[in-house]
């Protein structure tokens, strides 16, 4: 079984290679197709034509597109993602600090939203029309209809500005804390490794409001999907059979209905995760969170090619990995699903 699974993983990774190459080509072409001239932008306020030309050649933008692409490919092959002009750092180091920031926030908020959405969805499905079902509906509607930046600002206003119980929305750590030495880039993990529980608490406190904001937003699709999947599972033949066989309600729910309902939920979870990671720009802005979304948007606005390409590539790699993990999860939830059965 195990070598079999390793083989399939290897196969999947190999299949992903052309996709990644396609992403590299497309992101390269698309960034060049964007309106805007980075040389003019970065030459600064009082630049004349000569200095713009100097900047253009310093950035390598005076070369032909194929030549630029070749340079980009050879750099990539040696692991060099290029220099971001807007942050002044190498793209690799930018991604190394910003991706964990986004991942930490997104993962925490997804854990939070799953721990509410899934039980809520199950309860709502088992008691359709009840108070719980209505609560679920209200939460879901509120969650999708309130844009995240709005929820974020309201939460800051109430819990920071009015009540004063939340910490200053100053990003990942208030300035009075020392950031933990980077191991994983996840402050909670790094602080725990360093054994610095003060910083750990500090960074957890900073996470609470943005995580709740994101959780409220991601709650909706998860709860809806759980409810719908559970409803269809509960009305299925095998659940009726299980009930007729006299199994306990608990056994029916957890083993037969929930396990079968989990597949679409996991699919949705994967989609919500990838969506949230790139799309929480507004939350990042409101909470001064140094994440990947705002990085990409700012790079895009000023036509910072290397940064945009690096971002797209990192996201592509992440999604390939994520899809692999989700597919593997399927096979664990439902042994009938295999990679080979196509």
């Amino acid at each position: 079984m195990l070598p079999d699974r390793l083989l399939t993983i290897g196969l999947r990774v190999a299949q992903a290679l052309p996709v990644i190459f396609g992403v590299i080509v497309v992101s390269f072409i698309l960034t060049r197709a964007l309106p805007g001239d980075p040389a003019v932008y970065f030459a600064g306020a009082a630049a004349d034509e000569a200095s713009i030309a100097e900047v253009r050649s310093a950035l390598g933008l005076d070369k032909s597109l194929p030549a630029q692409f070749w340079i980009y490919l050879t750099d990539l092959a040696s692991g060099d993602l290029g220099q971001s002009i807007s942050t002044g750092q190498s793209v690799a180091s930018d991604l190394a600090t910003r991706l964990p920031a986004s991942l930490e926030l997104t993962l925490i908020s997804l854990v939070l939203s799953c721990s509410i959405a899934i039980p809520l969805g199950i309860l709502a499905a088992t008691r359709p029309g009840s108070a719980v079902d209505h609560l679920c509906r209200v939460l879901v509607t509120a969650g999708v209809s309130l844009p995240t930046f709005f929820t974020g600002v309201v939460l800051i206003y109430v819990f920071y500005y009015l009540l004063g119980i939340a910490p200053s929305p100053l990003g990942r750590l208030d300035f009075v804390y020392i950031e933990p030495d980077q191991v994983t880039g996840f402050y909670l993990i790094d602080a725990a490794i360093a054994g610095d529980w003060e910083t750990w608490t500090g960074s957890l406190k900073q996470l609470v409001l943005p995580a709740i904001t994101l959780a409220l937003f991601t709650l909706a699709p998860l709860a809806r999907m759980t409810r719908a999947a559970m409803l269809s599972a509960l009305s299925s033949d095998y659940v009726r059979t299980a009930r007729a066989a006299g199994l306990t309600e608990e056994k029916v729910l957890s083993t037969y209905a929930f396990r079968n309902a989990l597949l679409p939920v996991v699919t949705t979870l994967g989609m919500v995760f990838s969506f949230t990671l790139g799309a929480n720009v507004l939350v990042e802005k409101v909470f001064a969170w140094p994440g990947i979304g705002s990085y990409a948007v700012e790079a895009l606005v000023v036509s910072d090619y290397a940064a945009v390409q690096g971002f797209v590539l990192a996201m592509a790699l992440l999604f390939v990995a994520l899809n692999l993990v989700i597919d593997l999860t399927y096979t664990m939830i439902d042994p009938r699903i295999g990679f080979q059965t196509k």
């Binding site: 009082a46 200053s168 929305p169 990003g171 000023v302």
Partner: protein, 540 residues
């Protein structure tokens, strides 16, 4: 090191030697309770380099050149009418130079450096360092080279290290702009020994090294820098170019959302919010405990520019008609929340003094506008796109909407065209292809002729209207380097102002302002570079 000892260690003064990974902060003390020598400021912008000479260094990064490096000379300080502080353009003060004098023929300046002058690493500041730094600024190209050129500082041969403490600049021409241009952030003095030790064959100016590691003599050192998050300044206790600053540390946090910055300032968790939106400045100015300094930005005007390369605007009367159609007061109140200075409603068609910017002789008069259009043969109006930049939508969008509304009343159909921020400079300034658009230019060197040089001469970057007037071309060239005391200067400038008032290639809307909110901190000073100078700050 266990936790308690680390904390007490950090509180101690010995924190200087700590690297960026272990920040010298007081642990677990909120800003409001922080001891008297730490100032926390928030800004919405990112600092992307510690070296102003580097290609791609953005505007907010210029403050590092101000706080971490010194120049030969600096400007004085004055108190404005509203009690806030501003740099004083008319006074040039010593910084690294102790004194200076012009050669008898006026074609050279000789600077005597302070003998006690020291870089942050303790090595002496020598004329060789000044020469190397100036050579670098004129050689690397891009913005620093252009800015040096404004002061007629163009090639390395001009700079001469006579001896260790004597530095000579040979002038290409006599110009009033040279000395002030030495006080702008660009000609900062770099520790050339450190820089050269880190230079390579491909990188003779140590661009890579100085980008992340400043080597200056300034009042503050960079204790930590995380682009996108924060910059921490720490006082250089051995500063030799001025009085020791009152605060020990300044933490500058980047908070992109203006609403969050405002909440932080109102709650008192930060001491300063730099470059606040006009709306917040207006609303917070009445609040107890918060002081808002609103300083009109010198030599800067927000303009509506009709482009003379396009047909209806070739006619002066059409441009004047538009200038009479703008709802100035509404625009100023809506888009600027009344912060800044009005630039309309001047009394005379000829200026009485040479102050700049000053009120243009236009105000909202739709009848006059219609009559002028009629006269020009456009009585039935015409259609024109009105272009604005998406990245400056905060003031451009409301302004454009109000102008559009009034233009409709005189028969001109304007459609608002939003240009992406990355494309704006190319379209408006480089290609100059926008028929009617909003524009903003501010000159660092505070002379009207300097403004004219950039904004009214044909082909110059900020002349996005494609304007050309022979008299303006000639007069600007004559006045640019002329001394202000010259008896010819004022009459010529007045004539120039009169011409551009009459021909209005740029319709002045208002003079913008820089808003800075402070809480428990005094000593904020406005500078022409519009960046935070932390040297004068004091905890209240």
């Amino acid at each position: 090191m266990n936790d308690t000892s680390r904390r007490s260690f950090l509180k101690g003064a010995g924190a200087t030697a700590l690297g960026a990974s272990v920040l010298p902060f007081l642990k677990v003390l909120p800003a409001s309770a922080a001891s008297g020598d730490v100032v926390v400021a928030v800004t919405g912008q990112t600092i992307n380099s510690l070296d102003i000479h580097r290609t791609g260094t953005n505007r907010p990064s210029y403050q590092v050149a101000v706080n971490v490096y010194d120049r030969l000379v600096s400007f004085g300080t004055k108190t404005l009418a509203d009690g806030s502080l501003s740099y004083d353009y008319s006074v040039i003060e010593p910084e690294v130079a102790e004194s200076w004098e012009f050669a008898d023929d006026g074609m050279a300046i000789v600077f005597k450096l302070r003998p006690e002058g020291k870089f942050q690493d303790g090595s002496p500041i020598t004329a060789a360092d000044v020469k190397w730094s100036f050579d670098r600024a004129v050689s690397v190209g891009g913005f620093p080279t252009v800015q040096m050129k404004a002061g007629s500082l163009e090639k390395p041969e001009q700079f001469e290290a006579v001896d260790d403490l004597t530095f000579k600049i040979n002038l290409l021409r006599k110009s009033k702009l040279t000395l002030p241009d030495l006080a702008v952030p660009v000609p900062m003095i770099i520790n050339s020994k450190v820089a050269l030790a880190n230079a390579t064959e491909e990188d003779p100016w140590a661009m890579e090294y100085l980008h992340k590691t400043p080597a200056g003599s300034g009042a503050f050192k960079v204790a930590a820098w995380k682009p996108g998050e924060q910059l921490v300044y720490e006082r250089n206790d051995d500063w030799t170019s001025g009085p020791l600053p009152a605060v020990k540390r300044v933490v500058l946090r980047e908070v992109p959302s203006p609403a969050t910055r405002r909440a932080l300032l109102e709650r008192g968790d930060v001491n300063m919010s730099f470059n606040m939106p006009n709306k917040d400045a207006k609303e917070l100015s009445d609040l107890d405990g918060i002081t808002v300094a609103t300083t009109p930005i010198e030599n800067s005007i927000y303009c509506l520019c009709p482009n003379l390369a396009f047909e209806p605007f070739k006619d002066k009367r059409v441009r004047q008609a538009i200038a009479f159609a703008v709802p100035y007061d509404e625009v100023f109140q809506t888009a600027a929340y009344g912060r800044g200075a009005p630039m309309w409603g001047g009394e005379n068609a000829t200026p009485t003094d040479i102050s700049w910017p000053q009120k243009f002789p236009y105000s909202t008069d739709l009848e006059k506008a219609k009559a002028l259009l009629e006269e020009a043969g456009y009585g039935d109006g015409f259609e024109v796109p009105l272009s604005i930049s998406q990245s400056q939508a905060d003031w451009m969008e409301p302004t454009a909407l109000l102008i559009q509304e009034n233009l409709a009343k005189i028969g001109i159909t304007a459609t608002i065209e939003k240009v992406p921020g990355a494309n704006w400079r190319t379209a408006s300034l480089v290609e100059k292809r926008l028929p009617l658009h909003l524009e903003t230019f501010g000159g660092w060197l505070n002379y009207p002729c300097y403004y004219f040089f950039w904004a009214y001469l044909e082909g110059h970057l900020f002349n996005s209207s494609n304007y050309r007037n022979e008299e303006i071309e000639a007069l600007t060239a004559e006045t640019l380097h002329m001394s202000v005391e010259d008896p010819d200067y004022a009459p010529k400038i007045k004539r120039m102002i009169e011409i551009v008032w009459d021909e209005v290639p740029r319709i002045a809307l208002w003079q913008p302002a820089l808003n800075v909110g402070t809480h428990d901190v005094s000593g904020y000073e406005y500078w022409f570079h519009r960046q935070l100078d932390v040297r004068g700050l004091k905890k209240a």
